[in-house]
Amino acid sequence: MTTAASIATPPPVAPTGDHHDLAIALFAVIVLVTLGITLWVGRRGSAAEDFYAGGRDFTPLQNGFALSGDYLSAASFLGVAGLIALYGYDGVLYSIGFLVAWLVVLMLVAELVRNAGRYTLADVLALRLRRRKVRAAAGGASVVVTLLYLVAQMVGAGSLVALLLGTNSASARTWTIVAVGGLMIVYVTVGGMRATTWIQIVKAFLLIAGSVLLTVLLMIHYHGDLFELMRQAARHSGAGRRYLEPGLKYGATSTSRLDFFSLGLALVLGTAGLPHILSRFYTVPTARAARRSTMWAIGLVGGFYLMAIALGLGATALVGSAEVRHANSAGNTAVPLLALVLGGGNGSTGGVVLFALISAIAFATILAVVAGLTLASSAAFAHDIWAGAFRGWSLRRRTGDGAPRAEEPDSDRQEIVVARIAAVGIGAAAIVISLFAQQLNVAFLVGLAFAVAASANLPVLLYTLFWRRFTARGAVWSVYGGLVPAIVLVTFSPVVSGTKVALFPGVDFHWFPLENPGIVSIPLGFLAGWIGTLTSPEPADSDRFAELEVRALTGAGAA
């Protein structure tokens, strides 16, 4: 097996300049189409309901596509397939957490959140715990999570687009980040949730269609023999049989194994706390529609990851691990390179077209995901933090009852203006942070965003929905008890200092051995909520819990 690996490496397929012109043209088409959607759809109403929830009239199928569009970032499309191309089975292991996480969303969160909230995660908490500080804490955690995720996507976008366009210069990366940031601000401020949702739907459709196309071509190439695909991938991986066994990436030391367990925990619990996923459930009319859209999303995401596994193996089998690593050390160009080979190889028309097509889909993926994140972030800021701080009492009255007592279109309009301004501000902040964080590892940033979501958002959400005795103090403690340890542990982890690839490679003040804080901070979030509730001076308000339970399970009075 090892002798075969050395002799059977396929010919090099390093991309040359000629196929980038078509890619640039397709990028321009994507930008024009998405801007067209934004302008066309954005005219259809600008009430709070339209801006935050897209008018709540999407069908389960549409929302299922939009959910998977929000979820399958470029990190999934290119990153997971790249990991599989480089590390074989360990890449598969990484992808599974992203899928299983949807069961948590489906069973514990989706329907109840749809019934109990209006626009954001904090709405659900506020229905029961009518305290300004609860809303502010949850809103703040949502902004932190989305900002981390946003920076991850934009850093990824910078290097990725530069790579796909064939330049690796620093200025190309910088301008890509600025352009992507500018576009996402336009999508969100002009189009709101309706335009963002349609962009997600288009993008998810393109992504699935592109993956199906490549997978079918790959299957034709191997005459449907998956075992032969696996064997040839192992032969061309340079690792032989070990390519198909666990341990190539995550198995070096017991610390790295524990780190992977921590990441796995964060992935499986984090999805249900991601604000941009939760706010998607408000775009459908009922809880049953929310359930059905989650089922569509599970089908699409699961199918996509199965195809990504095949494509990752295909990239190794047909391109070779060494070549993939040579093009990009993180393996991010594995799928475009595979497209080049499947289309007929470098220089052939088919190869050039397929490469440009897949690159354009990756670009559309980046644009759509950052738009969804910016929207969720600005909603959390305007609806939870700003409105909570400056409109506390009137807001309390409005969200309190099934039937809003007094409509306040003026302050609603004001809140939407604030949300649009916040989108500009958050977009600008994300651009600036991304420019400074270009050296950070994208996969790490995504893992961190999931860890913070699982530590700060999920415990408080589950306690609110299911625990009769939960109190406002428990909620505040739970949010900060998960958020603060997660941030502190990362600050003192090898990611920030003490290693060559750290944010500050020159100094060493790390004492926490793991890169992902999930295994410590997630239990701390649950523990803090529990202790906060037990030590609470006031008992739980059982009237409010009755209202929450009845509304969440039956849908009575749902927005």
Partner: protein, 181 residues
């Protein structure tokens, strides 16, 4: 208020449209409490003129136990009482039980199964390397089983919700909203 009136009938129609097949399977599933079903088959919004059957069964015991807290804003006392009454009703407790008795055990099971799978990479690497068929080893087999179990549990959850909860929950929703009016 106007917003609610415009959205509710639409939701009713939407539900009936796709829940229609469930109507045949629900009796077969053998729901334990047929008393609640009198409210469930409602198809349009003209029916609420009827008295509300399921709730009064338990209502007499509850209102006495409802203290209206001084902190509650004036005017919400009525709705609080409605929610307390509905929460205590047999129909609602059935919905709550069928939700929790499915969701809690199944969630614990799939989380344990996923975490055990992740931990097995470190704990039992030799077992994971054992070949099964061709290039497939135990690790790949378990990974593919994670995909399969996710799809199967999704389907089981949807079936459980459709047959055990949906109709009763919709009936209770209209009842509750009638009382709140």
């Amino acid at each position: 208020m106007p917003q609610q009136q415009t959205s509710s009938p639409g939701q009713g129609q939407r539900f009936d449209w796709w829940a229609a097949p469930a109507a045949t399977s629900a009796p077969a599933a053998g729901r334990p409490n047929p008393g609640t079903r009198s409210a469930a088959p409602r198809t349009d919004r003209t029916v609420p003129a009827q008295p509300v059957p399921p709730v009064p069964a338990t209502a007499p015991t509850v209102p006495a136990a409802v203290p209206v807290p001084a902190a509650a804003p004036a005017g919400t006392a009525d709705s609080t009482e409605v929610y307390r009454t509905v929460q205590a009703s047999e129909a609602f407790q059935d919905i709550r039980r069928s939700h929790r008795s499915f969701v809690f055990p199944v969630s614990s099971a799939f989380l344990a199964w996923y975490l055990a799978y992740v931990a097995a990479q470190a704990a039992a690497p030799e077992l994971m390397r054992t070949p099964v068929a061709g290039p497939l080893n135990v690790a790949w087999l378990l990974g593919l089983l994670q995909f399969a179990s996710t799809f199967v549990l999704t389907w089981l959850y949807a079936r459980n919700a459709r047959t055990k909860r949906d109709r009763a929950a919709l009936g209770l929703r209209w009842d509750t909203q009638d009382q709140l009016r």
